[in-house]
Assembly symmetry: none
Homo-oligomer: 310 residues x 2
DNA sequence: GGCGATCTGTACAATCTATTACAGGATGTG
DNA sequence: CACATCCTGTAATAGATTGTACAGATCGCC
């Protein structure tokens, strides 16, 4: 038996460069449905990857296996091993991050997560889990991207999630409608923006719940915020890092998912159905079967031309 | 497809009472080396259990499967499910921030940075440092926020940085103008988007340099990309993490900053001057084209209002 | 100990699988 | 534009696998 420590998945990554186009497709499908698909027959595997059986065989050979049976045997052994030593699971990752900056980024995440107060998380999750409250998110110049990341997750999981307009006039129009039942989430890190701080003040005055994501030096908005998350943003780079904030966002996303799991699941499925209907032309909204449609769009973006055909 | 919730292992336990001696032996061996041994051939399985092949067949039939292939298919599906939806399993409702999931996020960053090839970084930096090339960035549903993060840094450091339109028609209008001198940067992670892949193909066909940010399973866009960055996105959370991609982006930002330091510094100072002019009313200084303003302020968001203002 | 019922293994046929050879097609080069 | 090279799919074949029929073995019971 071949070295049990080296995962087949890693072998694939390593050999990826010497793969042809079709073989890469095989690799991708294998990794995506690893390892189950490798345990099917060559024919079935080839069909899923939309290539011919010999292509799969060549791929397997390039990986260094003696043949398909040999490959499958290796997969089975790997499954067996992972059962036997679930804790000694091979950790193939290189310890060396490659650079000092890499370690700094790790430190940003570690320090940030270490500072999070679970109590604050719990309270915020409870607030976000409340369907009746609207959520209004605003980021600054640098932070609007993390704000977008939070928006993405919130929108997938609940209703009434809005982005506060970047343009002040529109934002003012919006703020006038907010009240006690509404949540305002702000991002403001160093080189703090006055308009964000002002927004916090107004929101607070109107009785909104104000949740602030800021850095270790704390935006002035913290004075009126009801909940504050502080992230480390400083590195040796002249550009502040968003990794800490993003880590908080993703932690919250997971927590909210757990809290709302029973609601989120059907919601996502419904969204998926709508998406399929939206991407298919003038169909009646019947299609519920999970067809991995290649989304017909504009002519220019015609679905993939995968048919060599003859 | 049989109910994915009921594990085959449970079915065995349930049917154990109606099993004969030899069949019980089969059951024991199967449970002991579950599920790997079930993926071998009947003959091999029978040998391990020290019974004959037909005995195994009868055992499988008693479990309610239509035949051995049917049984194996069920096993494979179980493996697939456990990989794809580790969340359909009963999950803990309590969150402990900063411990388990925190470590996973750290691992995402560490693994991603560990896989970066310095040579690719160098090449990409050289490309991005070239003022004459335009840079055109596009992200997918999830990744558009990281794409925004990259855009932020690039815009601060160089000219001709654009976001490719999300709407296909507009994007097509834009792509037609791109050529050999232009750089297209794409983000595409799992649940890959056909429109992004298609954009990659078109850009490649037009001779553009195509830089791809993807995940470990690699978007199909990789087939035509000239440079590929792979990030780890998978965690135990149902939501993929962007921390790895963000870490790459920030690493590139620092590298580009070092490379272009002498150019970037005066550029930033100039931007700062324009910004001040933009926020102060009715002055008349030099107007350049670069029009990414933070929006003109209105009365509500008057700048520099340092007072708490209760 | 003899009998019946149940269990189990052997042998073989039908089917499916992996593999190899080869030719058509794509790609790049001079 | 012709040539060479490299991919990739088709088709044929050798081999292995599943499933079944049947005969021998085992066990319990009278």
């Amino acid at each position: 038996m071949s070295d049990p420590q080296i995962l087949i998945a890693d072998r694939i990554s390593a050999a990826m460069s010497s793969m042809t186009t079709s073989e890469k497709r095989v690799a991708r499908v294998l990794l995506a449905r690893y390892p189950a698909i490798g345990l099917e027959s060559v024919t079935a595997f080839a069909e899923q990857a939309e290539v011919s059986a010999p292509t799969v065989l060549r791929f397997i050979t390039k990986l260094g296996f003696g043949g398909y049976p040999d490959f499958r045997r290796a997969l089975r052994e790997e499954i067996d091993d992972s059962r036997k030593f679930p804790l000694t699971r091979p950790r193939p990752t290189k310890i060396d991050v490659g650079s000092d900056f890499g370690n700094e980024l790790l430190e940003v995440v570690r320090a940030t997560l270490g500072e999070i107060e679970p109590a604050v998380v719990d309270e915020v999750i409870e607030l976000l889990a409340d369907d009746r409250r609207s959520v209004n998110v605003l980021g600054g110049d640098l932070t609007k991207t993390v704000a977008g990341h939070l928006l993405y997750h919130l929108r997938k999981m609940r209703r009434a999630v809005f982005q506060l307009p970047a343009v002040n006039q529109e934002r003012a129009d919006r703020l006038i409608d907010l009240g006690k039942k509404d949540i305002v989430i702000l991002f403001d890190v160093r080189r703090y923006q006055d308009d964000v701080v002002t927004t916090a003040r107004i929101a607070s005055q109107r009785g909104c719940t104000v949740i602030l994501f800021t850095d270790q030096w704390m935006s002035e908005a913290a004075e009126v915020a009801t909940h504050v998350f502080r992230a480390k943003v400083e590195t040796s780079s002249p550009w502040d890092s968003l990794l800490g904030l993003a880590a908080i966002v993703e932690t919250l996303a997971l927590a909210l998912d757990r809290r709302l799991w029973s609601v989120v699941r059907p919601r996502l499925e419904a969204v998926e159905r709508y998406k399929i209907n939206l991407t298919s032309r003038n169909k009646s909204p019947a299609g519920d079967k999970d067809q991995r449609s290649d989304g017909p769009d504009t002519a220019v973006f015609e679905s993939r031309s995968k048919k060599p055909a003859v």
